[in-house]
Symmetry: C2
Subunit: 246 residues, 2 copies
């Protein structure tokens, strides 16, 4: 079943709170830099990895067994991963892509997220490394889901609204042309304004003496500079890999 | 270091958003009853357990390796669990308990949570079993952390404010007397009112056509009937097991 652009936009809107909640939860711990230093995990038998990398890998290995990555929009950050041990029944989608990983932007999501941490969290070390990296993983997974769900369904829906226009650009390998055709500034601005209000409301009753308040601008900046551009980058990749209609 | 009652109350207040966010996130999926039926996990080689039980167990087994349950307030739902593979440095607390599991109420938390699901979530089945049980686990862990952090530190702090009064009740095994002495109705009412406002604010900008709105009364009822009574039950257990001062 093809999702209309309006329906995709609504579903993406519904994922905003989840991303906001998870970022705010991570911000309750300090940066805890040592958790990101290779070889400093303090984990028996893991001499090379950071605690963060280890946690992300172990969580994704477990999630893989439960079938998470059978879902097109759930793109992992780790490779390789074990096969699913669970039969997952996927909803029928109209997506035209065989290898969703070929349109994955998780590498860039990871880098953008790690770059955000020093401004999202208070500086310093509170010793809560385990909780910090646990929340990192949940935030990253929410971002990956939102970005890839958006990119796959938006790209497919826009393509179907203008197959000849898109085909020409795809044939010419015109990435800039695709990006320009996919872009709707007014929609992007509306998303950013909505996110701004949601971040404020979610923390309206926060006791700032015990809970770190996350500035709405921080989250909207992250949406503007990363979530939205990476969604579009993934849309371009999706279109370049799109299977011909049968 | 002994935490004052005021400081404990503040830290508990700071955990409210986390619980609220996680309950709201779970509510975005339907009840998905089959995920709770033993033998219906669809997981290779797991003939007996439900998907929910399997997910909880696997997550806690992984968390145990990372040292989560070395922290007194992080009480697990699963037993037995592997030993930590990570050296965890705990903050110095003034708690007087050797075996925090002896004051654990996770069995009752689990039951209360499962009883909440049919009202928290929309009825029916959306096929998103993996996401549902994933969010169950996060919500349960947030509840366990809040309830046990509260009970251990509140009990210790109240004991120190009135050691003779509490000693008498402990010696007599007077659980009802302990419960009465620990209870502060005005504080409980203030918590409930605060939670009510937070649930409303967190969803103030929700688009109800794509995101389920969780009624504040549902969460406050859960606090009133379960979170607060289970915290007090765990306080009583803590006091009955409290080690003598040295």
């Amino acid at each position: 079943m093809l999702l209309t652009l309006e329906r995709v936009a609504e579903l993406l809107e519904g994922l905003e709170e989840t991303i906001i909640f998870k970022l705010i939860d991570r911000a309750q711990f300090r940066v805890n830099e040592i958790a990101y230093v290779p070889g400093k995990s303090g984990f028996d038998g893991e001499a090379d990895r950071s605690l963060f990398v280890l946690r992300l890998r172990r969580q994704e290995e477990m999630d893989a067994l439960f079938g998470r990555f059978c879902v097109p929009e759930e793109r992992p950050f780790t490779t390789p991963l074990p096969a699913s041990k669970r039969a997952v029944t996927l909803p029928d989608t109209a997506l035209r892509i065989d290898e969703p990983d070929s349109a994955s932007v998780t590498k860039a999501i990871l880098q953008a997220y790690l770059d955000l941490l020093p401004t999202l969290c208070a500086a310093g070390d509170d010793g809560q490394y385990g909780s910090s990296v646990e929340h990192d993983v949940y935030a990253l997974q929410a971002l990956s889901r939102r970005i890839h769900f958006g990119s796959f369904h938006v790209a497919e829906s826009k393509y179907r609204g203008d197959p000849r226009g898109y085909e020409r650009l795809i044939r010419n390998g015109d990435r800039d042309g695709l990006l320009a055709r996919l872009t709707r500034r007014d929609v992007e601005e509306a998303i950013i304004e909505r996110v701004r209000h949601k971040v404020g409301h979610a923390q309206a009753r926060v006791n700032r003496s015990v809970r770190k308040y996350v500035e709405p601008d921080l989250v909207t900046g992250f949406y503007r500079d990363h979530v939205i551009p990476l969604t579009k980058e993934s849309e371009v990749r999706y279109l370049m890999k799109r299977k011909p209609d049968v």
